[in-house]
Amino acid sequence: MNLYLREINKNKKSLMIWTAIIVTLVVMVMAFYPTISAETETYERMLESMPKGFTAAFGVGSLSMGNIFGYYAIEGYLMITLLGSIYAVMLASGILSKEESDKTIEFLLSKPITRKEIVTNKLLSYITNIIILNIIATIVLFISFQIFKEDDFNMKTFILISIAPLLLHLVFAAIGFLVSVFITKGKKVTPIALGIVLVTYFMGILAELSDKLEFLKYLSPFKYFEAKDIISNDAIQMKYIALTVIINLVCIVLTYVFYSKKDITV
């Protein structure tokens, strides 16, 4: 418990900064909605004139800018999915490995605490941080929807579109958590963690561009939670929820196994 609290305390500053950045961007984007929805046709013509790949890359697809969900999906959703994923992966990949790269692990391991307890405390701590970020982002998003909406919006869709980023962040966090068991030296962790997010993001774009590359969508967690799918189906597909659960379980279990068995030298 002391370790959990210590981690929460240690990471609260970066949580505050990331939340502030994401929330500010979302509010700024939403503030333009009334202007843009008034001139939907112009914008949609502009989007149509762009190459198909380009619009696909931004997840536009069949969405309409005239609808608040469509607008948010095109302009705002990426802020919380991409930036939030970067935050999540950096947090989770640093939380175990920092003890080793800062050589504080010798201190921690000499105390009466098992390695499993260390993993559990750090795991719960990163999950807490990600949940807090998502709750705040959702509240702010809800308020800006209320302020800038033109019509009433479907609450179920709103809830889905708010839960999806949380699940996405947890996927990336779990991957980062596992990776950090193996890569602990110096400053390698952050670039690798960032690389995972960006590479999978571009895989998602590639999957959209070519039918031959469609299989890539399973390698890109971003595709599991695409706004246009969620909005048009009013659901998150079961197969993607299953993948989310599996990736989380596998990564976390492997983290426990490998962290408990590895030699920890500083």
């Binding site: 201190f107 105390k111 098992t114 500083v266």
Partner: protein, 294 residues
């Protein structure tokens, strides 16, 4: 009862040698010295005992419990002072010590105050801003604050000035009188001789010898260098001369006999100059090492 016991403990890092077949027995209440040059395997042994790393073969027991399976239980009663001191850069001394105390049952406020008073450590500074010696003090306090039954000290005196070293040794003696067993690793023979009851010598991953400090005292090694008056032959074949080297007018050897005999022999021979000094640890090791080979 053995507080600490290792049986054929070996550790290889891939193919690189860590320690080989280390057998140690530390009895309750002992101050046990663990001495060897850098890279001999001192820290590897300690890290295996504390289960930071897993042994390749063999086993280690602390308080009669298995060092892997019962690691957490064991560490409730261990205080560990690492050779390198690294702490969280966002913490003040007081925060770190409170954090350390939070892993143990009980209230340690007074104890922290006492120890930091004795070592003259300011609790309100950021650890990152402290000098190496002062960081070492933080490390000493976190190792001692819960009054552990076994203290494992890895090169504990580095960075401490002589005054603080003495205070630290005083504190260790107090802990020892209260019943703590101390496992003291060092590459400085002098400080081990000063503190310990027993000493194990490790070289290249293997234990060369375990000796009572009393015996080591009787085996008082001296490095003797003699410059002769002329080019005359001189015999220094008295008992206790080891590794004699003669070059022109200079005679050099390691001496491990009675001081009286050496002085007599020096008087009998006409010597121009003489130097008698503490040998380096390496020289004593070489002695043990060659003895071992023979």
């Amino acid at each position: 009862m053995n507080i600490l016991e290792t049986k054929s403990l070996s550790k290889y890092y891939g193919k690189a040698r860590g320690i080989v077949d280390v057998n140690l027995q530390v009895k309750e209440g002992e101050i046990f010295g663990f001495i060897g040059p850098n890279g001999a395997g001192k820290s590897t042994t300690i890290r295996t005992i504390l289960n930071f790393i897993y042994p390749t073969s063999g086993e280690a027991k602390v308080f009669g419990m298995d060092c892997i399976k019962d690691s957490k239980e064991i560490r409730k009663n261990i205080g560990y002072l690492p050779s390198e001191v690294n702490y969280y850069d966002d913490m003040k001394v007081k925060e770190l010590l409170d954090y350390s105390a939070s892993f143990y049952k009980g209230d340690y406020k007074k104890r922290i105050k006492d120890l930091s008073g004795k070592l003259e450590l300011d609790l309100n500074r950021y650890i990152d801003d402290l000098s190496y010696g002062n960081k070492k003090k933080v490390s000493i306090i976190q190792a001692l604050l819960h009054s552990p039954k076994l203290l494992i000290l890895d090169e504990p005196t580095g960075g401490l000035d002589p005054l603080m070293q003495n205070r630290f040794f005083e504190i260790l003696r107090e802990e020892n009188e209260k019943g703590a067993t101390i496992f003291f690793s060092s590459h400085i023979l002098g400080e081990v001789q000063k503190m310990c009851d027993k000493v194990a010598i490790i070289k290249e991953g293997k234990i060369l010898k375990v000796e009572n400090i009393e015996d080591l005292r009787n085996n008082r090694f001296k490095n003797v260098k003699i410059e002769l008056n002329g080019n005359k032959d001189m015999d220094f074949n008295i008992k206790g001369v080891i590794n004699k080297e003669i070059s022109k007018r200079n005679v050099k050897f390691l001496y491990n006999g009675k001081t009286e005999d050496l002085l007599k022999s020096l008087l009998e021979n006409k010597v121009h100059d003489v130097t008698i000094e503490e040998p380096s640890l390496e020289e004593i090791f070489m002695h043990y090492y060659t003895e071992e080979v023979n």
